[in-house]
Symmetry: C2
Subunit: 466 residues, 2 copies
């Protein structure tokens, strides 16, 4: 007898009349007065439940089937039939139902069939994947991650695992997590009383990485096209729905690519993965339309046909300055755009994703390439309505003398970036890259606004449970 | 004019006679007495160099081409021709060569054309991807990672990002890295003088994960088939060629699967990915045959046709006890097999990969399922000749009372595993999973024995450079 997943049935690959086995968890159950139980079973393979028809002639009907509650695990053997019910095509007429696992104290089961708030579910991050919402998010996350790997691989990129533990800080500053094996009660100290990190595991003060970019550049300058896709960390004390202390980033890096060339790749990648999620997870996307945000399909579908709007930073400033909206933060050339400005541009003015290019150098990182005007750097951000920055990237400064100037200007010690400077001394080439915040991408695609819902076990300030 | 990668030429997708642009780095250069320079250019897209023919009629021949050294970056425009040379099919007759980046002080270029030891290259981890060896490893790593994602996705698995920062320890013990933002010079202390971790970033003592398994189990018990593929960390002070402090693991977890079912999946996955690397990276595999280990292709090819040998742990003990070899560590029922035992079984006795099943419970983790004999657990390891354990897995203890017994036996506090116990109280099902050490896999496939060569930027005791 064949064990099948519900998705195989939904996709019409199982012949009506087949004898099959289904394994899963009860989502719904109701019993008619005529002695038939209707059990909605879920196995995670897709958004749909499969309806099980259980007649009272089953040997364990009275002592087991009637005691089943939401969450019980079952193995059901039966025959697949066309369903006479509205809104479902298939049902399984059971001739054997084995209860594998019961629910201890069904009344206090934390994710029982009744409605729960997202905040409540967050406290049960180990059980919430059993809900329709987290199930749908999990499948969409999977599909987007696979599509990213597939797209980049097809374009000739190689996936590179850049280090998680690092002794350097990509952004020059930023709040980082320390990694150590030193005993807090016996901290080794040097002769001027400072903690002696030469005694620590790595023989050096070590941190969790905030970005794999610099390491990725080393590989791009050998392999031409590479990307990282891994976790990065920020110890920011901003406890908002848009921040996580641990999140995943996709960081492609391309040798010989200019700013405009890397923007084309970024846009092409977004279009590719949006198409993949519509093709492969349409049922889950419909779930988000019905339950979260009715526009999620329409807005990603519209991208497939239109190029993203591109504007220069100075144009963005002009638009913000000449519109009639009052912003909390004053707008002038030189400011870093804040969330209110980004929202106005994407949600009000353009009502679409917007690419902003060539930012003032003083608000950007040392490694971005200085433009001819000596005032701006070849940086770009892709802003999304409702989400804000989803991609940030730049052409990198490949000229050693210019890089040194920037390091000096920003009072960054050159000796800390010796290996990075080497890349410019030996066969340097123009190159560009970007970072895509994977969790923000999921938030954008699903319409689920709090990042704590789109990652399995979120890590935020004062919370690293499970 | 079309910019092409060398792999496109090698794969015969560019018509002979086409005008094309090649971008890359010089690997070799020699100049004939008749005024022709032969430049071997590499762009990372595949193992092959493309030969550039540069005649002295080029305008920058004397002042630039003749000064080119290994490592310089070039953009070459030319016409693709059939090569009259032996061992190469194509060459590019240049009509324009632009030198993009020179090599500063070619005599001291750390990875100049001459031979360097692996130890020397390790000190230049930012430049070593420019060598044939690290290039080939990078492409094979990429192909194996993609094949893993593709295989599991095709089998209905969902990729889940399990947390990197954790407040629990999967293995019960084990050396872990602490993650903290506390200031070492002002450690907060509670009223009995202990460090007060409620003041730390996560409000709790936090560590880097050693495995995503427990979190993966929570998702398997909702989505049926899931896997993690991410970095894990061990602060082991064993500075050998087989250990890294930071490495990547693939951890599939399958609901309703028994030990034998998960073994079938593990074996099928290995066969699938070995096949992928032979199909997609045959040229790189030939490079390893020529330069590292002449058996690498033969041994992975042989797997495609044979099932792996499976033996019970007690059979392994018998074999080791009755063979005539003397081992340093005495062999009897109850010991954990050490490297010399594993090597004897895989390299001498069976001369093939070996799966060992059902180990004594006392040498295995608390979460492994107790067998009927009350002495062994449903665990398995896959051992490879030359590499040792590449996969370790088990059926998990899904019975709450049995799990509690094991926690008690091993003096592990139940309250620390409350959420994990919940998974057994609410709709529990038999389930199984395994962990594949991704870096050891690369080592096995390429024949490169030191793990420091198979990861881009290795992290080991006293070393976290770049």
């Amino acid at each position: 007898m064949k064990i099948v997943s519900i998705i195989n049935i939904v996709k019409n690959t199982i012949t009506i009349g087949s004898n099959i086995i289904i394994q899963g968890w009860v989502r719904t159950i109701r019993t008619s007065k005529t002695g038939i139980s209707f059990i909605g079973i879920y196995d995670g393979s897709c958004n749909s439940l499969l309806q099980i028809i259980a007649y009272d002639k089953l040997s364990n009907y009275k002592n087991e089937i009637l005691r089943i509650t939401s969450g019980c695990s079952l193995v059901v053997t039966g025959v697949l039939k066309k369903s006479p019910g509205i809104g479902q095509y298939f049902e399984l007429e059971a001739y054997k139902i084995k209860v594998i696992g019961w629910i201890k104290n069904p009344d206090s089961y934390p994710i029982s069939a009744k409605y729960h708030t997202l905040e409540h579910l967050r406290e049960f991050a180990h059980l919430r994947p059993r809900t329709s919402l987290i199930g749908a998010i999990t499948r969409v996350r999977h599909t987007l991650a696979q599509a990213i790997h597939r797209f980049l691989s097809e374009q000739g990129f190689f996936w590179v695992t850049t280090p998680i533990i690092t002794t350097s800080d990509t952004e020059g500053a930023g709040e980082m997590f320390r990694v150590s094996t030193l005993d807090y009660n016996k901290l080794p100290r040097n002769n001027i009383g400072e903690v002696d990190f030469t005694k620590d595991f790595f023989g050096n003060e070590s941190f969790l990485t905030v970005s794999g970019q610099l390491n990725c550049e080393a590989y791009a300058l050998a392999m031409s096209k590479v990307y990282t896709f891994g976790p990065v960390f920020r110890a920011e004390k901003s406890n908002t729905s848009r921040h996580l202390a641990e999140f995943w980033m996709v960081e492609p890096e391309v040798a010989f690519a200019s700013l405009n060339e890397i923007i084309i790749i970024a846009e092409k990648m977004l279009k590719y993965i949006f198409n993949a999620v519509l093709v492969e997870r349409y049922d889950d996307m419909l779930f988000f339309v019905r339950n979260i945000d009715k526009k999620v399909i329409v807005r990603i579908e519209s991208f497939k046909n239109f190029n993203f709007t591109q504007i220069e930073y100075h144009n963005a400033i002009e638009i913000l300055n000449t519109c009639n909206k009052k912003f909390e933060k004053q707008v002038f050339w030189g400011i870093d755009l804040s969330s209110e400005h980004e929202r106005y541009l994407t949600e009000n003015y353009f009502n679409s994703p917007v690419i902003i290019k060539n930012y003032p150098k003083d608000i950007k990182a040392f490694y971005m390439r200085l433009n001819e005007d000596n005032k701006t750097v070849a940086a770009f951000d892709i802003l999304m309505p409702g989400v804000g920055e989803i991609i940030g990237g730049s052409q990198r400064e490949e000229r050693c003398d210019m890089l040194d100037n920037r390091l000096d200007e920003m009072s960054i010690k050159k000796e800390n970036y010796q290996w990075y400077r080497d890349l410019r001394c030996y066969g340097t080439v123009p190159h560009s890259g970007f970072g895509l915040g994977f969790d923000r991408l999921i938030s954008y695609v699903t319409g689920v606004s709090n990042l704590r819902e789109v990652v399995p076990f979120p890590r935020t300030q004062r919370s690293a449970l499970f």
